[in-house]
């Protein structure tokens, strides 16, 4: 027997053997920083979420609070720290909801095919054809602004693209020989979906999760900015931009700081997703250029 002995690296899980690059390190640190702030915010923040600390509104950075005060004289720094909790938590919940919907329906459509697939796909396409902000405006307008409605609406809107990705993955992997082998063995649909197809679609789904998470942050911030999302006095970054946008003309940075924070969060998430996707292919673009 002279079987060739070219041995590839072991791939225990999708996370095995992921070496960090400097972009991933920076992005990861930024995300970790916000996560820590979100977890321990109330103990770190010098003031309360809605506590008015100064008579001066739109106080500049350094005066009356570390990062100045907002339009009601509240501490921008403290609200920023409280806001990261709301922003991250809501984004997480909506993304999880969108994946629960999207992946279940997508895999079901890929596996059941036929009428189920046609009907669900057409409904999803109808949803996608509708501008998502407009859709959210209509739904929230009809049902009123509450956190539940907000989360469900955004989750539903985001689930359309998750559906498309997971349906395509389900179709692709569903025709591979190892899935056929499982079918020939007599395995049921549940086994095939959870043991054969799902583990092999983890990498693209994780990448998709990161992207949807970013979208969700932007979308929620956008809705808050329009006054349809999180309501005062709760702190949310999108809401903070909206509250303080009038201060821009007075030379206040109270609106710019939360905007920059949103940007740091989304850019970091994107960098991390890029790195993860490229690492799954073996090498990142930067490493290829270096060679």
């Amino acid at each position: 027997m002279s079987d060739a002995t070219e041995i590839a690296k072991p791939r225990a899980s999708v996370f095995a053997g992921l070496r960090l690059t400097w972009t991933a390190t920076i992005a990861g640190s930024v995300l970790l920083f916000w996560l820590v702030l979100a977890l321990f915010g109330p103990w770190i923040a010098p003031h309360g979420e809605a506590e008015i600390i100064s008579g001066t509104t739109f106080a500049p950075v350094g005066e009356g609070g570390l990062l100045g005060t907002d339009k009601l004289g509240r501490d921008v720094f403290s609200r920023l720290i409280y806001g990261v909790r709301t922003t991250l938590l809501l984004a997480l919940i909506t993304t999880v909801i969108s994946f629960a919907f999207g992946v279940t329906l997508g895999f079901a459509a890929a596996n059941l095919k036929g009428w189920f697939d046609i009907v669900v796909s057409r409904i999803v396409e109808a949803f996608m054809a509708f501008p998502s902000t407009l859709l959210a405006l209509v739904v929230i307008g009809a049902f009123g602004t509450s956190i539940t409605v907000l989360v469900l609406t955004v989750g539903l809107v985001l689930s359309t693209s998750v559906f498309r990705v997971s349906r395509a993955l389900g179709y692709d992997i569903g025709v591979m020989d190892f899935v056929e082998a499982a079918r020939a063995r007599g395995e049921g649909t549940w086994w095939i979906l959870t043991r054969e197809i799902l583990p092999n679609s983890m990498a693209p789904l994780i990448a998709e999760f990161g992207l949807r998470f970013t979208f969700s942050i932007l979308f929620l911030s956008g809705l808050s900015f329009l006054g349809l999302g999180v309501q005062e006095p709760a702190a949310d970054w999108g809401l903070m931009v909206q509250e303080n946008v009038g201060g821009l003309f007075l030379g206040s940075s109270a609106a710019l700081i939360p905007a920059a924070c949103i940007a740091s969060l989304t850019v970091s998430m994107n960098l991390l997703v890029d790195w993860f996707q490229q690492r799954q292919q073996g090498e990142t673009v930067l490493e290829k250029i270096d060679q």
């Binding site: 079987d3 060739a4 041995i7 590839a8 082998a181 063995r185 043991r195 090498e283």
Partner: protein, 595 residues
């Protein structure tokens, strides 16, 4: 000095993603003279494709030419700028890839693609170049040379497309032609016409050529000189006759030994005494959507025996296996497994029935879930069919691994850590885990190197003796089937044209199609191609293409013995001949081809 190409001490390095560079080609030197065909042979991974690409000054992404000189027409092309090198390709040197289907743009007409390179190099205007191309089509024996350029790639057959690919490569009148496994993906009957066309056009134009292949029989037909490679190093070089008849190096000899003799020359297995069939498929008709692939196919697999199913691609071999396994539902007919009628769909079959009949797929790479450990891949059928758990399951996995000659420690590995041959053994072990009565082997050795494939066949034989398991062995490799199968079924366009004991099928009288198949298997003898390509059978066969669902005899349009008015109207029934042979042909028994 009339060498077109001289390569001195070529070194090419490659890099796995995230790794560092390792040598692939380690100091190979060669030269090709005008009008000469040099063959590069070796197993997969020997660096033969890499060398052929390097002779154009090209390295695949992730590879680099690390050293050496490449002289083409008296210039060292490694010293040229990338732009100058680019100008050479498609002008002085051109390349024919393995898969023509993947090399043509499906959205453009063929003629436009054939003249693309000379047009780009400014060799003439579209009208004159098209006229030259039509001339080439004629030389390549393509049907309708005047109009074939107006067709789209999907409108011509695979063999024709491969010849059109050669026309594309020759359209610029190159000094050097590189052919990388150009007939490997083709059926044997198609291979002949393509090989003949390649050989003639190379002679006709006096082009120097490099022919890359792993098939020694093909090399014997086209090459003037042979260079044997192993792991990126030159093993032996010499004229074709010397390498074939008097190989000096031990490795070359081992390559020669791995070549199986022609199907009619092997020792046939004597069909053992008639046993009760474990698979009994009766009058199966099946297909996908509106397409009917199998019509009225009946096959029996007796217990503890090997039934070989042969035929060209698209004849329904794999569909037959899928129908028996219940993956593709049958439309008409009946399947009995171990004497009991089996439901058409896998969902309606009880586990006991499923357990008895296991399927092994062709591509070991895709047949194993890359995210499961070998222990889980083998353990699942044990748990599923026999309810084994924990310690008992673990022990049994170890036994299975030993059964297929792999160490027990492999249980903790992932499929990605195994070689192709090892994966195919795991694939077999998974089927064995069910303790089946019969295993459907769908081209299990086709994707493997000759030496590794021989090992897998040996394993199949020993398992049959040890466990008494039967095989339905599907393959397009006639020699393997001839030496391994007790009985043989020949499929053509979804119909059984001949079946019977291996010895009877591979000796006269033949069905005309079986005759064509047998005579198309390349022999390792120089001059074989000329002899076979000019026979009436080969000419008739290349004139038509396979029509599935044809009225009458499906082979009528490619048969030299066709009886007008009968063969094209009436489908011939399988009729019994002496010696348990059955043949579906209208010809009288005496008139059947007998040589």
């Amino acid at each position: 000095m009339n060498d077109i190409l001289t390569i001195k001490n070529l070194r090419v390095e490659g890099r796995p993603p995230g790794g560092s560079y390792v040598p692939i080609v380690k100091g190979v030197s060669l030269n090709v003279a005008k009008g000469e065909v040099l063959a590069l042979i070796g197993e997969s991974g020997s660096g033969k494709s890499t060398i052929s690409l390097a002779s154009m000054g090209f390295a695949r992404p992730g590879c680099r030419i690390a050293g050496g000189e490449i002289w083409l027409n008296g210039r060292d092309i490694m010293k040229l700028s990338p732009h100058e090198r680019h100008a050479l390709r498609g002008d002085e040197v051109s390349y024919v890839a393995q898969s023509a289907a993947a090399s043509f743009n499906p959205a453009l007409r063929i003629g436009k693609q054939v003249i693309e390179a000379p047009l780009w190099h400014g060799a003439g205007d579209a009208a004159t170049l098209t006229a030259t191309a039509v001339d080439l089509y004629r030389k390549l024996d393509l049907p309708n040379p005047d109009t074939v350029g107006d067709k789209f790639p999907h409108q011509v057959s695979g063999g024709q497309l491969q010849r059109l690919m050669a026309a594309m490569a020759m359209s610029c009148g190159p000094d050097l032609l590189i052919l990388d496994e150009p007939t490997t993906a083709l059926d044997v009957t198609t291979q002949i016409e393509v090989l003949k066309a390649f050989k003639d056009i190379i002679r006709d134009q006096g082009t120097a050529a490099i022919y890359v292949t792993h098939d020694l029989a093909v090399v014997a037909q086209v090459a003037d000189r042979i260079l044997v490679l192993k792991n990126g190093e030159m093993v032996e070089e010499g004229p074709t006759a010397q390498i074939l008849n008097d190989p000096k190096h031990e490795y070359t000899r081992s390559l020669m030994d791995a070549v199986r003799p022609a199907p009619h020359l092997v020792d046939h297995v004597d069909g053992s005494a008639a046993q009760a069939p474990v698979i009994s498929a009766r009058n199966i008709t099946a297909g996908y959507g509106a397409l009917t692939i199998l019509s009225d196919v009946s096959v029996d697999v007796p217990a503890a025996s090997v039934v070989g199913v042969i035929g060209e691609s698209g004849c329904g071999k794999s569909t037959l296996a899928r129908v028996v396994a219940g993956l593709t539902p049958l439309r008409e007919g009946e399947i009995k497994l171990d004497g009991k009628v089996a439901a058409p769909g896998v969902k309606d079959r009880p586990r006991d029935t499923l357990k008895d009949c296991q399927i092994v797929f062709q591509m070991a790479d895709t047949a194993l879930n890359p995210r499961q450990r070998i222990g889980d891949i083998l353990g699942r059928p044990l748990e599923f069919y026999q309810g084994l758990k924990g310690r008992a399951r673990l022990d049994k996995v170890g036994e299975l691994l030993e059964l297929v000659d792999l160490p027990r420690s492999f249980a903790s590995r992932f499929p990605g850590e195994l070689s192709g041959g090892q994966k195919q053994r795991i694939n077999l072990a998974r089927a064995l885990a069910a303790d089946p009565k019969v295993i459907l082997c769908d081209e299990v050795t086709s994707a493997l190197d000759t030496v590794v494939a021989a090992g897998v066949i040996e394993l199949l034989k020993s398992l049959k003796d040890k466990l008494g398991v039967a095989y339905m062995f599907i393959s397009h490799d006639l020699s393997t089937v001839a030496s391994f199968a007790d009985e043989v079924v020949v499929l053509y366009a979804g119909r059984v044209v001949e079946k019977g004991p291996s010895k009877a099928v591979f000796s006269p009288p033949f069905h005309p199609y079986t005759k064509l198949l047998l005579s198309s298997v390349p022999e390792m003898r120089q001059g074989w191609l000329e002899g076979v390509a000019d026979t009436g059978e080969a000419k008739a066969a290349s004139a038509g293409s396979v029509i599935i669902g044809a009225k009458g005899c499906p082979f009528a349009n490619r048969c030299t013995h066709v009886i007008a008015g009968t063969c094209d109207r009436v489908t011939p029934p399988l009729r019994d001949l002496p010696g348990e042979l059955s043949v579906a042909c209208h010809l009288d028994t005496d008139a059947l081809p007998s040589t």
